[in-house]
């Protein structure tokens, strides 16, 4: 499957007009110099020759070097530098979405039709409807530009001397006990993570609310109530646990949406992650970066879905026994 996808991505990129020769030479290029450059880079070869060359190198772990995002750097290195950034951002975003979405969804269901319910349903609608980049600009305007409380972009302040260990800036700060660096990296994460969290938050909230409503109407809840069980026990053991099943699926699926959202969020916040590299790669026709990054994104997506399927076993005992 990865092979087929790699061929598709490869062919599609080369079907786009323009190309790296044009991007590299800019308005100083001439037809002659562009042709010479294309030849030098092997871009004048038939596409299947290019593909097999690419495949041959890829099998040895060489995905080529960037032409536009970080020109000259190995694409694998760029990915390894940037992947932790995107993971940090996505993990915090999904944690925020879960931490806010599930309790709110649960409360909204408990007080169905009340003011709180109506208000939070409305808020979640905005979360779905407002494009993430707009929200990102808005957050920046309020919290960075107007109030000056949070940094408006980047992963860390430029003049902090931080030691890099894993590439996860917050983790690095903790590991090396450079607390100011860890804190600074965390503060830089906040705005983009909140912006990015709105996508999964809205969905998680609504699914939780719907699931809890369903379960509240189940016979076993009524039985538990009539048995005279404590309210807290019913809620924890019978309602929440059963309602979590669809929510877990949703969270898994939302990780795919996070990847897409990260492209915009990272661009807006100048956050040097995978998403920003993808956006820049398109602008600058950076074939090697696009080829590898799109492939890896696809593989990650497939893996996450597999993990979601496996995690059913944890929440749904029926699957374990089958």
């Amino acid at each position: 499957m990865v092979l087929v996808l790699s061929l598709l991505v490869f062919a599609w990129l080369r079907a786009l007009p323009g190309g790296p020769a044009s991007a590299l030479l800019g308005d100083r290029g001439t037809e002659e110099s562009r042709a010479a450059l294309s030849k030098q880079l092997g871009l004048d070869q038939p596409i299947f020759v290019q593909y097999f060359r690419f495949l041959g190198r890829a099998l040895t772990g060489n995905f080529g070097n960037s032409t536009g995002v970080q020109p000259g750097d190995s694409v694998v290195d760029i990915f390894l530098q940037r992947f932790p950034a995107t993971i940090e951002l996505s993990v915090l975003a999904i944690l925020i979405a879960i931490a806010v979405g599930i309790p709110l969804g649960y409360l909204a269901a408990r007080r169905r039709g009340g003011l709180f319910d109506n208000f939070s349903v409305g808020a979640s609608l905005i979360g779905v409807a407002v494009p993430v980049f707009f929200l990102a600009y808005l957050l920046k305007y309020v919290f960075a530009t107007k109030l000056g409380w949070l940094p408006s972009l980047g992963r860390q302040a430029g003049d902090i001397d931080a030691t890099r260990v894993t590439g996860f800036f917050v983790l690095d700060g903790i590991l090396t006990q450079e607390w100011d660096a860890a804190w600074d990296a965390f503060v830089h994460l906040l705005l983009p993570a909140v912006a990015l969290a709105t996508i999964p938050f809205a969905v998680i909230f609504r699914i939780t609310r719907a699931a809890v409503l369903d379960v509240l109407n189940e016979d076993y809840v009524r039985t538990a109530e009539s048995k005279g069980l404590l309210g807290t026990v019913i809620r924890r053991r019978h309602v929440l646990r059963n309602a979590m099943l669809p929510v877990v699926t949703t969270i898994g699926l939302q990780i795919g949406a996070l990847l897409a959202g990260a492209v915009l969020t990272e661009k807006v916040f100048g956050f040097s992650g995978v998403g920003e590299a993808l956006a820049l790669g398109f602008e600058r026709r950076d074939y090697p970066v696009l080829q590898m990054f799109i492939l890896v994104a696809a593989i990650v997506y497939v893996l996450v879905n597999l993990l979601v399927d496996l995690s059913y076993a944890l929440v749904d005992p029926r699957i374990r026994t089958r």
């Binding site: 323009g18 020769a21 030479l25 060359r53 032409t67 000259g72 409380w149």
Partner: protein, 559 residues
């Protein structure tokens, strides 16, 4: 920093939960940032927002503005440009003179200068640099790698193409003699370009500087270009933190000139334009380049210092005579010139300070002629000329680029719209084609597919050859002048003018050429010169806006 405020966090199940958390946390962030701003005149960090990652740090292989900007702060050339102008001025060379034929140049060097690695700068180092450029091999010769060398010096020592450079010899420790193969107006001005900076021969050798490889569909550069750039400039290379998107330079305490007051100079890479503006407003950066002209007023009123550069570029309305026979008629091209209301275009579409271009060089370039044929807006004249040429039902394939802004063309779509409307007024039918700048526009223009198109140029030096020589000096160009009866003649005259060593005579030749280009040839229509700007915080002192975007940050202080 994490102390005290946590108590204020209220984990209510209210809607503002995330907001409240951000609020509490950020109170600390603010106090942290407050610490930086108290910097006085001496010391501090100057953070500049860059639109892209520098490609590398060896200016010889640099081709784009972001790479040049970083290199300018670390390197000096034999010459430089007088701040705020395009005139050559002494730098590592204190003085120079040439023989009357313009072929042999003697440079008297500044004494006691050291490279960042502690080795001495002397005449041998100068010759080592010239020889390095001339002897590049393999992938390093590619246009995409050593573009500025190829443009300015031509070929390499392998002799495949003629080279401007012949030899260099050290007459004594402080005197270098450079011999050229022909006289050219751009020498020695080009030695002030960052590409031709003086680099430490020892470091070049140690870190394998010339070893550029074409690998797969890209280029791989050696350790020197990535991590060990070694010049003589006011800043030394610190580090390039790729994961964080920052480049850090530090003060060179042994600088030969006036030492910088700054401790550090940081370039933060922010590809998104709106994000750059917001970063300035929120104080994350101290300045950035090319603010959108539409934002100048609001930035000024918000208390920022918008520094406008002298206009040193040109936007032209390109005409390609290849596919549309009507365009081979001078009257048709003149009709187009009369049909476009350039005054109005400049007023409504371009930043304040922009001017209508009467010829293909700006006023500040030697060889500018005041009395060229001008083509004022005149719809009737345009229609009449079209009728005389039997081209009243002219159809033009008009290309404009998307996904790009250039200093000479801040808003391609609006500029296209204004010109297209003018042409339609004159009865011309327009077939619009738009393509992304890197997505087919440039390639199509250079393959001669459009009839008319928008393009421009930003000057590298104050020599006319850098402008009209670039456009028309090679008869095979994007206007296809080689196919016109006068195209080869024009190219030959440009070469003659460029080779004239006597400045006064040379300017005269260029003035004549500019007159001819605007009356007899009119290969394209010059539209405008637009002043680009850069913007910094009000407490940033010491930047002199340069027509060449050659701003040096050494004299900058914050406070």
């Amino acid at each position: 920093m994490v102390h005290s405020r946590t108590a204020q966090r209220r984990w209510t199940a209210a809607i503002g939960l995330t907001g409240a958390a951000a609020l509490a946390l950020s109170a600390c962030a603010q106090s942290e940032r407050g610490d930086e701003s108290g910097a006085g005149k001496q010391g501090g960090t100057f953070t500049f927002g860059a639109a892209g990652a520098p490609k590398l740090f060896d200016p010889l292989f640099a081709t784009d503005g972001e790479t040049f900007r970083v290199a300018r702060q670390m390197f000096d050339g034999l010459t430089t440009f007088k701040p705020g102008t395009a005139e050559p001025a002494p730098s590592l060379a204190e003085s120079w003179e040439s023989t009357p034929d313009g072929l042999t140049w003697t440079f008297k060097l500044r004494q006691g200068v050291k490279f960042h690695d502690g080795t001495a700068f002397d005449a041998q180092a100068v010759c080592a640099n010239f020889d390095r450029w001339y002897n590049l091999k393999g992938a390093a010769q590619s246009d995409a790698v050593s573009q500025y060398y190829v443009d300015n010096f031509g070929g390499f020592s392998d002799g495949a193409k003629p080279s401007l450079y012949k030899s260099c010899s050290a007459k004594d420790a402080n005197t270098a003699e450079v011999v050229l193969t022909s006289s050219t107006s751009k020498f020695p001005d080009i030695l002030g370009l960052p590409s031709f900076s003086m680099q430490s021969p020892a470091a070049l050798k140690q870190y394998d500087a010339d070893n550029v490889q074409a690998q797969g569909d890209s280029f791989v550069f050696p350790a020197y270009a990535n991590e060990h750039p070694t010049g003589t400039g006011p800043f030394k290379f610190g580090k390039y933190d790729k994961a964080n998107g920052t480049v850090e330079l530090v003060r060179n305490d042994d600088y030969w000139g006036e030492k910088t007051k700054l401790d550090k100079l940081v370039f933060r890479i922010i590809p998104d334009e709106t994000a750059r503006k917001q970063a300035l407003q929120s104080g994350d950066i101290d300045g950035f380049d090319f603010p959108n002209a539409a934002d100048w007023e609001s930035l000024k009123s918000a208390g920022f210092n918008v520094q406008v550069r002298p206009a040193f570029n040109i936007l032209y309305f390109g005409i390609n005579q290849k596919n549309n026979p009507a365009l081979r008629d001078l009257k048709v091209r003149q009709a187009l010139a009369h049909a476009i209301n350039r005054e109005q275009l400049v007023k409504s579409q371009l930043p304040e300070g922009a001017e209508v271009a009467t010829q293909f060089i700006p006023k500040t370039v030697g060889g500018f002629a005041d009395d060229v044929t001008k083509y004022p807006y005149d719809l009737n004249k345009a229609k009449q000329l079209l009728a005389e040429a039997n081209a009243s039902n002219l159809t033009l394939k008009f290309y404009w680029p998307s996904e790009v802004t250039r200093p000479y063309m801040p808003n391609p779509k609006d500029i296209y719209g204004a010109i297209a409307a003018d042409l339609q007024q004159a009865g011309i039918t327009i077939e619009t084609v738009t393509k992304p700048w890197n997505g087919g526009y440039l390639t199509d223009v250079d393959q001669g597919i459009p009839d008319v198109f928008l393009l421009g140029w930003t000057g590298d030096t104050g020599s006319a050859d850098n402008w009209i020589g670039t456009f028309f000096g090679n008869p095979e160009n994007r206007f296809n002048t080689g196919a016109a009866t006068w195209g080869n003649d024009l190219a030959a005259q440009l070469k003659t003018a460029d080779a004239e060593p006597d400045r006064t005579k040379r300017y005269g030749l260029y003035e004549d050429l500019n007159r001819k280009i605007m009356s007899e040839y009119l290969p394209a229509i010059p539209v405008s010169h637009s002043p680009p700007a850069l913007v910094v915080k009000n407490n940033v002192k010491g930047i002199v806006p340069s027509p060449l975007t050659d701003e040096k940050f050494g004299p900058v202080s914050i406070g």
